[in-house]
Symmetry: C2
Subunit: 379 residues, 2 copies
């Protein structure tokens, strides 16, 4: 644990919608009670105006920084960005990260008990949208006594949530950072998600979602393998793995995973099944597929007219899942509304995963943006 770590942290749970105030979903369904598991780092100032909300991506969760136990081998997923002296400087800011609804890490999702049946929801869990996730987060932010967030940040699906916040609760967001994201999921990305869901649903162990125990491990592993290829750039795969064989000089002339890239994907697939729920993967990828600002709020230029926050958009040169062109489209729409927006494309070989991997470059940019915000607030 380095001296810039937030140290030991403990997840907390906020529950709402227990009685007559459930979460009304975009589908028309009501969801309640709803648990939101979250962590906070740093301390609130007197008027709670120093809060920064962190939004996680598909396989992330509320544990963004620090350790749950001194014996943990890995800290939270964005630990390089959150802590004293880091980009999200916990000596100044009160940083909050919550698990999305539909997830499998504690917030209400398909693994939770359906109060109607007393059994886990499984496929009876309603299909939720990115907007629903944000509405649930709004309840948490209200509960924490925050009237306006100093900033918020998220990459990939986390960026989708940033955008929904900007459009649903514009007056509650002073500044926002949207990384490696887009105003809608592309047909190609829907296609890859669809293959992943198909692999899960056609795994006989899925059993219409009513698996117990390990469940559709093979299907989930295949879904993760497909996803993982899309998170990395071709250049990175070439440089990191190329055509290297895993453990021999000679071809095996059989169907074992002999190339290093094959072993790597197998490993990524199988470790994922140990930490993620297959039904949750269905729900979250579906929420991503449904995400389309224009469908909900009209053409981008019109939609973004309501944004009140100062925005920073970040894309990565080798990200082919959420290419820079998709970020530029949003930046243009904001600019044409005369909104204050910054944009940078970071040169990186790491593809879509860069925001989780190359933290140094990103940290410098985010620090600068947040310092500029502080000056603005003080002035």
């Amino acid at each position: 644990m380095d001296c810039n770590s937030v140290g030991l942290v403990k997840p907390q749970t906020f529950t709402f919608g227990t009685r007559d105030d459930p979460l009304i979903l975009e589908s028309g369904h009501s969801l309640g009670p709803v648990d939101i598991v979250y962590e906070t780092y740093g301390v609130p100032n007197e008027d709670r105006s120093n809060a920064i909300l962190i939004l996680h991506a598909l396989s992330g969760n509320h544990h963004a920084a620090g350790y749950h136990d001194p014996r943990d081998r890995e800290p939270g997923w964005w630990d390089g960005m959150i802590g004293p002296g880091k980009a999200f400087d916990t000596s100044h800011y009160w940083v909050i990260c919550s698990n999305i609804i539909g997830g499998c890490k504690g917030s209400t999702g398909p693994l939770s008990i359906d109060p109607g049946s007393g059994e886990p929801y499984r496929l009876q869990f309603p299909v939720v949208t990115i907007g629903d996730m944000v509405n649930a987060q709004k309840r948490l932010i209200d509960h924490l006594g925050i009237t306006r967030l100093h900033s918020m940040a998220g990459g990939s699906m986390g960026g989708f949530q940033v955008l929904e916040w900007l459009l649903r609760y514009p007056e509650m967001v002073r500044s926002a950072i949207c990384i490696a994201s887009a105003a809608r999921l592309s047909a190609q990305a829907i296609a890859f998600n669809s293959v992943g869901r198909t692999a899960i649903i056609r795994d006989p162990e899925w059993k219409e979602g009513r698996y117990t125990g390990k469940g559709p491990e093979q299907g989930l592993a295949i879904a993760r393998m497909v996803g993982h290829i899309t998170y990395l750039s071709e250049l990175l795969l070439d440089t990191k793995f190329g055509r290297r064989l895993q453990s021999a000089d000679q071809f095996s002339y059989n169907f074992t995973s002999e190339f290093a890239i094959e072993s790597y994907l197998n490993y990524k697939g199988s470790t994922f099944t140990q930490r993620f729920d297959a039904n949750s993967y269905l729900f979250i990828t579906k929420a991503m597929d449904y995400f389309d600002i224009s469908r909900s709020y009209g053409p981008l230029k019109h939609a973004f007219a309501r944004v009140l926050a100062r925005c920073l958009f970040v894309s990565y040169s080798s990200d082919w899942l959420f290419p820079t062109s998709q970020t530029k489209e949003m930046v243009s729409a904001l600019l044409s509304n005369g909104k204050p927006v910054s944009f940078i494309e970071i040169d990186s070989p790491y593809g879509h995963d860069a925001f989780l991997v190359e933290e140094d470059k990103l940290a410098r940019i985010l620090s600068g943006f947040l310092k500029g915000m502080d000056v603005e607030v003080a002035a």
Copy 2:
């Protein structure tokens, strides 16, 4: 049937290696007897110097042009390119296309009877390479009394075979056309193939390859879906499908395939299982993964020193599976050896599949190249 069709055609079978002359594979295994199923279009000239060999890709076969039956709804897979007056003009050339070994369309492969056991080979079929496929084709070409091919052409894995021909039998190839291909399969392409094989192998219906009847349909469909995404460009997916729903205006809020791109992939996956054998898919993708000119023949510049043919290389602007950069690498290696080589990148939105879809553009270029060859031969 248009007047430029080759009309009704009948596949033929050439068998070799029945006794003491089996095919010795790169793995060291012997394979025999070997059936090669092939079709020919046009007629040989007196000295059989007008032969053009067509090499098919992963899911192709020997049926490249014409019809097997007047009631066939579709002609052969490259019918737009082969026929009287077409690029491969059957009024001048004798065009030949054979099914690769390891395939499932008649040439010896995992569905064939293993003479040792009297049962189908299945997984007892030896892993074959692109070089092995070409060695088998060489036997056919010898059998047909051809000492030198006027030309040969292939796209994707067909291009791999073109390259092996150029390097194994340089004196037998007067000219060659290599389309949307590369000197080796990239790590990213191996990764996608590996996911496809994993989906097949982990399908419980695969049964270590000893399935009967339908077999691992779900796994094979998933493999094809993944493959199909890589054959198309992001732009094409956006233009052709975008975020359009298949049959409704409203979201279904369930896990049916509601986006048009999902329906399309499902359709492509399920029709493929009706026409392709899952074990064959394993063998052919493995042969692709193994393909690497540098591993077999040394650095490209050194390897290509032996090429004697006039070559044409074609790539497509939106092909991200076999990008233009990979073609340029080969062209440079030939040029630095002072070899006669032409190269064109065709501007197309169709991605890797363009060579099968946008036949008009390709036909004009190939016609020109072949006419130039005719002038050269006549001179």
